[in-house]
Symmetry: C2
Subunit: 464 residues, 2 copies
């Protein structure tokens, strides 16, 4: 199915656009203005002659051109007429923000909506969703979306709130979103239709999905298999328990099936299932980082014996190995540190010298030479760096990044923080995170998040 | 064993105290000054007549009084003489910061140290550790420690770094630390000795332990059982995997045994074992909150259908139940919200009204009346609150706290955040967190942390 005009519409009508943000309406029209959408924009509202400085039309029939996309935010009782008007206009796509259909038990109205769409030659997004986002065409459902180039990530979310959360968290983590669809009740266009488009879309290098129910299992698995053939797909399943499925039914009218069957089919098709939203974001960050680990042999360096021990335990539990470093590598590390309260074997414990970015860099370069190591994880303790080496915090991340550029192996930094109420430390964290992310590295907040994400990506790439 | 003088020393000598912070030394002497320790302080260092404004003594033999505690930070080769001098002084306790003993294979020196201590009637803390902290007597191993009253939590950590992290994170989370010991190599005084003291200590209401190896299993389990009889004990085991145990051996000379045997024995004695440091902190916060859940039936309220579904799944996976609310309760919730895009059944999805603290409060009061609910978890979306209701963020938490005071059931708020790079949002988070914590509530950053901690505490209290 050709969804190109849905993602790249040259003309958009917003039916139910409003000058104010009242009545629970989303300001879709203003979003498009704010994003500096370059195409033609037609607000439709019989109560206003003008909306946000643009001439408004009493009805869709008054819009002088055929539009590519209609965004409809009108009460459910006007939905059928809106589809008919879209058909008369020749618009190929209508996105219904409108709710009050199958998710509240109103099955008949939803069925009539779809039949009307078929008869009118119109395809529907939703209803009961916040619709479409595309960085290149500058359309969005979230005011916080700040396109970072064209982007390389696709997201499909059955929930509007989860889709919003994805936009916010991916933005803050510099995961570059290319396209997203909040697809709601899937009355007409379904998850599998969007995913099939993502499979072929050269702009999308990795995809994430939040799904509460799949309408057409075989079509979904087919689209999933086609997508995972060339890009990683991370899935979070809402309603993966009986009680959760009951909650999902009243959310998007979802009829969730058995999760075990779902997850084994997804795994077989090469999808990666996660348990939490945060895990999904961790994996998206890692999947789109510059260099992926090719093996499970980790080299760890940091400050602190207890932390080194805890890292080693968590890495082992996640199925990662930590070979003892070659003697020549250990000797090179030893050149810069005393032999008391330190350890060079792996985990490498640099003691208080683990707060010195130049010694961290020296150690990373040494570890890069060890042929038994696949990936290097440097641990930065923000509490100690801000206490003991605040002068380091500004230039330090750049030193690390310059070092990574000289290395062959992938590097995954951990930015650890224990005090949670120090605004100055949050500032340092955000700055270091930004420098590392702009350098193409995945960055984690805790050792467990780091080893778990690395382990998941490795299992996935080994399974291919 | 009477450790009272160790925790409440009236006179302290710091052997190896230094005017500067150079040479990898910890500024123990300056810590005590900074903390306004009220007892007598004797710095000992032959190279200085005065240290930080206090007359210094060339040797411990020159100190004019018997001290209760000697803190020794001198090279390992002077350790034996220091113990002998402590014996001549009559000091009952020596804490050795000094390392270079069993953790680097120097078994003989450590053995001789203990034999000398026995002969000198001196008990040792360490060596290779940062020693003792007590809020009441104002002694500390960490400059960031800010006593919050007498405190009610005890911590025992084999690692100095992990002990530092505990101080920092507990401080920021307003977990009120009463006593802590970083106990290192356990050459003489052992984990089990400190734990036995905690068991009897009326100031300590909950304890946490980071342990790499237990020297005397039966004594440890006996002390553990005596402690858990009256207070929860959370344990993080370093070296719980074979590879982690190897790392622990070079850290504190630990000889870790089989983790399965250890964990089943600990569970049998009523201890709670966690996998990560952060889980330990989560449980300490919950264990010391004002009201603990007495059953596993959760009422959830928040904004967002997808988040509600995800919460429900994670709660079910953690063994929590979510009964449908009584009709009268649902009716009362409905009074304040429209019936579109909301759900009152449980999870309660207030839609955009979930950003309004007064409607959250109204809903919590309604849920408090439901006899099938044991604990209420309100979900606050910081991203949306700071975007849509910034005026709420200042007075909102107080409204919630006033509501909690009118309720019977325990309340555990979740402060969710997806954008990770917005300093203003961190400020709001820190403020809301502080208000809730000062009101005695446990507060979590994610739904998974919240349900997992609640589930662990419930399993523990059900097992008693």
């Amino acid at each position: 199915m050709d969804l190109r005009k849905l993602f790249y519409p040259e003309k958009i009508a917003v039916v139910g656009a409003s000058p104010g943000f009242d009545g629970g309406k989303m300001p879709f029209f203003q979003f498009l203005q704010f994003m500096e959408y370059k195409g033609a924009l037609y607000p439709v509202n019989p109560a206003h002659a003008e909306i946000s400085g643009v001439k408004a039309y009493p009805s869709l029939d008054d819009v002088p051109e055929t539009v590519d996309l209609v965004i409809a935010q009108i009460p459910a009782r006007f939905a059928i007429d809106t589809v008919k008007a879209a058909g008369r206009n020749g618009a190929p796509f209508v996105h219904f923000f409108t709710s009050g259909f199958s998710e509240v038990g109103n099955m008949e109205l939803e069925k009539e909506l779809v039949e009307t769409a078929r008869a009118s030659n119109v395809r529907l997004v939703g209803p009961n969703c916040i619709g479409v986002l595309c960085a290149e065409s500058r359309i969005t459902f979230n005011m916080e979306f700040k396109p970072n180039g064209k982007g390389n990530v696709g997201f499909l979310g059955q929930s509007g709130g989860v889709s919003d959360n994805f936009v916010r968290m991916s933005g803050s983590r510099k995961i570059r979103l290319n396209k997203a669809v909040s697809y709601g009740n899937q009355a007409d266009l379904k998850l599998e239709d969007f995913l099939a488009y993502f499979a072929e879309d050269p702009e999308i290098e990795a995809a994430a999905i939040y799904v509460e129910d799949v309408k057409n299992g075989p079509a979904f698995l087919d689209a999933l298999g086609k997508t995972t053939a060339s890009k990683p797909v991370i899935l979070l399943k809402g309603g993966s328990t009986q009680r959760g499925a009951k909650a999902a039914a009243s959310h998007t009218g979802a009829m969730a099936g058995d999760f075990k069957i779902f997850s084994s089919a997804v795994n077989q098709k090469g999808g990666i299932i996660v348990d939490t939203f945060e895990q999904m974001m961790d994996l998206m960050m890692l999947a789109t980082s510059t260099r992926l680990p090719r093996g499970n042999r980790v080299g760890f360096l940091g400050a602190g014996g207890g932390t080194s021990v805890c890292f080693t335990d968590l890495a082992a539990k996640a199925g990662l190995e930590m070979p003892v470093l070659a003697q020549a590598v250990q000797d090179r590390i030893s050149e810069k540190i005393p032999n008391v309260n330190t350890s060079t074997a792996n985990p490498v414990d640099l003691g208080a010298f683990g707060f010195d970015f130049s010694i961290m860099a020296h150690t990373m370069l040494a570890m890069d030479q060890d042929e038994n190591i696949d990936v290097i994880m440097p641990y930065f303790s923000l509490d100690f760096i801000t206490s003991f080496a605040p002068h380091m915090a500004s230039s330090g991340p750049e030193i690390i990044l310059e070092t990574v550029a000289k290395m062959k192996k992938p590097v995954i930094p951990i930015l650890s923080k224990f005090a949670e109420d120090v605004l100055e430390m949050e500032k340092v964290r955000i700055e270091m995170f930004s420098v590392f992310r702009e350098g193409g590295l995945a960055v984690f907040n805790t050792i467990q998040d780091c080893v778990n994400a690395a382990s998941s990506i490795l299992k996935w790439s080994n399974g291919r």
